[in-house]
């Protein structure tokens, strides 16, 4: 099966992104494809490059990067939701005249069309949120 995942909540505050991560790992272990993970609403906050979680806790952003790298998952951060919440890549930062950018490598910023496309192309589009 070809899966798309939609993540609507940020790291640590809600379990949604953790559940999605465990699901993705299990799907891959079972031989399925995770085609795209789309970060929407507060979900865009998972893409921050600036988090320093406690040593004995999970690092959500990095776990996703590793999983995506090893399994060729397309990780897309919604541009409109990201702009509202202060997540920028280098291009956006320049375009908006901001002094820096904070999207971690491995995540890319794009439009909601990427979510719709996932809905069209995937066998299943699953939502994880609050």
């Amino acid at each position: 099966m070809k899966y798309g995942l939609l993540i609507n909540e940020g790291p640590y505050q809600h379990q949604a992104v953790d559940s999605a991560y465990q699901f993705a790992k299990a799907a891959i272990a079972k031989g399925h494809e995770v085609f795209r993970v789309f970060f929407y609403h507060d979900g865009v906050n998972n893409a921050t490059d600036f988090a320093v979680p406690p040593q004995d806790d999970r690092n959500i952003t990095e776990n996703w990067i590793k999983l995506a790298e090893e399994n060729n998952i397309d990780m897309v951060v919604c541009i409109a939701a990201a702009q509202r919440r202060g997540l920028l890549d280098a291009n956006e930062a320049e375009r908006q005249g901001k002094r820096g950018d904070n999207i971690a490598p491995g995540y890319r910023i794009s439009g909601l069309g990427q979510l719709v496309e996932a809905g069209i192309e995937c066998d299943r589009l699953l939502t994880f949120g609050d």
Binding site: N8, I120, T127
Partner: protein, 130 residues
């Protein structure tokens, strides 16, 4: 928000249903759901909207947000027709629990029972709930 037509793709038409269960303003889900609806329509997909539970309040007439410093986005529901989004369904029981009737709503909708909504949901390719 990036323009819907920027990343439009050609391809198959799938049935997308959006289940709106949350009141507006208290959380952003109603507003950001609407953005996905518009993009999905721009991709020429078959779009249905369901308003149930507190989601029925999204299309309550007479919203006036002057006092809370937030934008009143309810006129956008009226604009859906222009995007060829015409399948709007409302859960009868949710209306009744809230003492509302069709006259209280700012768009034309079809009021359905939960059994009818369940049949409709069962017939979808993608169901998204915000």
């Amino acid at each position: 928000m990036s323009e819907p037509w920027e990343d439009e793709v050609e391809g198959p038409v799938k049935k997308f249903m959006f289940v709106n269960r949350k009141s507006p303003y208290g959380t952003v889900y109603a507003l950001e759901s609407l953005e996905v609806v518009l993009i999905t329509a721009a991709f020429d997909q078959d779009v249905s909207l369901v308003f149930s539970d507190d989601g029925v309040y999204q299309i309550k007439k007479g919203q006036n947000t002057d006092g809370i410093g937030m934008k009143n986005f309810s006129p956008t529901y009226r604009a859906l027709e222009g995007y060829d989004v015409e399948k709007l369904y409302v859960d009868k029981e949710s209306l009744e629990e809230r003492g509302l009737t069709e006259d209280d709503l700012l768009v034309d909708v079809e009021v359905l029972s939960r059994a009818e909504l369940a049949d409709l949901m069962d017939d979808q390719d993608v169901v998204l709930s915000f």
